[in-house]
Amino acid sequence: MDILNMSALELSKNIQSGAISVKEAVDAYISVIEEKDKDINTFINIDKEALYKRVDEVQAGIDSGKYAGKLVGVPIAIKDNICTKGIRTTCGSKMLENFVPTYNAFVVEKLEEAGLVIIGKTNMDEFAFGCTTEHSAFGATKNPVNTECVPGGSSGGSAAAVAAGMVPLALGSDTGGSVRQPASHCGVVGFKPSYGSVSRYGLVAFASSMDQIGPIGRNVEDVTALFDIIQGYDCKDSTCVKLEHRKKINVVGNEKCCDENILDELKEDISVDLCGNSKEDIDIDVDNTTNASEKIFTDKKSIEAARVNLNGKKIGIPEEYFKDGIDEEVKNKVLAVADELKKAGAEVEYFSLKLWEYVVPTYYIIACGEASSNLERFDGVKYGIRSENYSNLDEMYKLSRTKGFGEEVKRRIMLGTFVLSEGYYDDYYLKALKVRNLIKKEFDAAFEKYDMIISPVAPTTAPKLRSLEEDLSEEIKQPGFDTLKMYMSDVYTVASNLCGYPAISVPCGSECNMAKVSKEMNMPVGVQFIGKAFDDYKIINMAAAYEILRGEGE
């Protein structure tokens, strides 16, 4: 059986039926990794001994009927900023080159309960600061579609691993596009859930108010199955929302949710049941939303079902997103998706996002500010590297941090320190929090009209390795340097993080198909579907419908 070409769901079915053993599945993928990873450099760490112990454990669990679920026995790669008990977790940094957590992230616990097999930890931009996976202490990851190109980032290792066929599924984290953008560049599906859907416990924090863990896979259905497993309430993350509250927030909307009565209701519920992750919670969420996605997935090949799903849906396109700084090729492909959806019966129209130019500056201020504080804990006292030759405490801090952090991390910490510091806080950090409110209001108003917003994921396809930095160092010296261009690469993705919206990146151009890879082929392009808070399954459905319309392989 062709293990490597099966979807994750098919693979699990075969494993659960006994047609394929967990070991056979893992062996098959390990052989791909051994063949390809020398060139691509996606994995920071694979602990084979622990891996095969886990393989036996999962196989025994399957044989004794311990597991039930859609992804039992499936190998998965985890971004190296998600804590794995007993397995080195480096965040792509020299700072944590020897850090072995004594606890699991919530999502890792969930994966273990669901019988998945973690193959290894993937490369990333150091502490998730970057969008190319070049800023890693463990070397750059390359784009498997074309190894002269970057895979995007910061979850470049995870996206590249899936794209290269080294794993059927992976987890990344997304603070400003770090799941969606590499998925787009590598030609795979990447989903950033609504803020509050997936527990952040055990995810090494970058920007706490925006970080979310998200699944990456070859198709929407696999990604959805993985999302089903990792999402859910966790009492260890105060910003993780109970399922019944997700529904309320989704239905009532943010404006009305500020209504005192609603807050009362929410509060009461929370105080009655403080930490229960009851079965009822799950049932509430599973009703119409998941069932709808079930339906479209079971009728997978049915174009008719896809049309039904899209018919009458209102879709908005921010006109400003297509004006400047975007590659023609990307623009055309994304607009072609809009046409496709229109043909299926959706109402598509342009609308204006007046605040679009403020989105990236606001994001940068908040993200760097939070990051500068979140990364203070790396000081050489409790874990991480400690420099030698210090003569006092202050020197120990400075030498350890200077040695442990890479250049990009230092730059962002310093910018973050600046925006929070006395005399600047009001004009930068506080101001950005206020602008964030305005931006969210503008998007919320758009969602009053639209079921979803579609946009590009990135303005270009994957750039060549090092190109961003080289261009930057040259261009930055020019007096009229256009800083905007440098950050345009984030403009499409960061709004979802600022506002907490779910967003999915689906290939809409040269889809990754390893059989067809050649240096001459076009690099992949992704289209992004964005929904309002807790419309996760709604946009997944529409992404699934689009995937059907698009057809496999193109």
Partner: protein, 500 residues
Amino acid sequence: MFDGNVNEKVIKTDIETESVDSCLDTYETVIGLEVHIELATKTKIFCSCDTSFGGAVNSHTCPVCTGMPGALPVLNKKVVEYAIALGCATNCEINKHCRFDRKNYFYPDNPQNYQISQLYAPICVNGNLVIETEDGEKTIGIHEMHMEEDAGKLIHDEQENMSYVDYNRSGVPLIEVVSEPDMRNAKEVIAYLEKLKMICQYLEISDCKLQEGSMRVDVNLSVRKCGSKRYGTRTEMKNLNSFRAITNAIENEAKRQIRLLENGEEVILETRRWDDIKMESYSMRSKEEAKDYRYFPEPDLVELALEDSLIDNIKEAQPEFADEKRERYIKDFELPEYDAKLLTESKIIAEYFEEVAALCGNPKKASNWFIGEVFRLLKDEQMEPEDIKFTPKYLADIINVVSEGKINLGNAKAVFEEVFRSNVEPLEYMKKHGLMMVSDTGAIEAAVNEVLAECANVVEDYYGGKDRAFGYLVGQVMKKMRGKGDPGKVNEILREKLER
């Protein structure tokens, strides 16, 4: 409060006492306090680790309170309830939308290198406490109260030139109470602290022990010429581990500042450390420039929305405080103010007293026993009110048998000592040790007969009209009965026999 990088430097304070003393009266001291109160919750503020004291180093820890990567805080409900309770008891406004902020500074006892505290929207604001000193009543404003986490402990090794960090205390909940600069002398400060401590103890939210660090006081002090409306430059005094140290530090610091001003020098805005043995303070000047804590709203925690109903519930559940009890004792129990004040200083004592008073039906007598005996024994045994273990009914029983004349007061006090120390059942104890009064007529008659026979000459005196003779004879009978004869009965029988 946990500032790092201190470079201690001794400032000579050779105060020329006489010259300062001569102008002391022309200055006014202005004092505001920052008081950290460690809450008596079972778990830490943001994780479920045990807060109890005395565990092995780093044994009460988890990823949250040791700042491990990826760990997240979740707020302890009790901390919020305690903060609201203290706010209500001190007439504060409760901030209905309050949140936490991060205070960023590097120091090894602070595992995240930021402390989760409150700056922009503290839970309680604009309160006050009414204090009482010999000069009368005074209202001291409370600027705000906020919730925050405690830091770990640093242990210093002089030989190795190293410090060691234990995170057991890291994350223990604190409430910081910031007063207005409304106090003018050490007496007011002590009265304020006593009052705050009393309220916390009545609310059972903290034991507020300065020596053990469950109450920590920083004194902000400045001086100004009497009549001036402008505040002078203040200093902040730390390391004050007793009321005595606070008093000493305030008096010393006021003099130090006055002397500086009188010499035409300036007071420097700084933090100082009090040394109660040397009776002087040291500047804790930081090597770096002024602190910049880069406070910003803590994104890992959500807002607290505190509705009136919740606040009302907490208000309703508040105990009767010392002031109210005192008034009730005066009014309902007709106790002197002095008694009422002493009895209500500790909630535990007040509750014991009320129970004993109810059981014996005589509040004044109960009060006498507490003020005379219970307080004396507490002092002798160096015990705190919470160490009391006797059953209230036992004291009530003693009071009753004394009232009934069944035991003399001296013996009753001796019995109570046993009750106080080992909670023995007093009536059994009295019987067992033969301490009860003898009212058995036969025994008294026998004793009277013996005395009359032995003291024939005194009997003569009695008949001769000497009044004192009767008293002497009573004394002899009592002596013969080793003090246990019922005095009434002894009198009655003796007179009867003599008159016969």
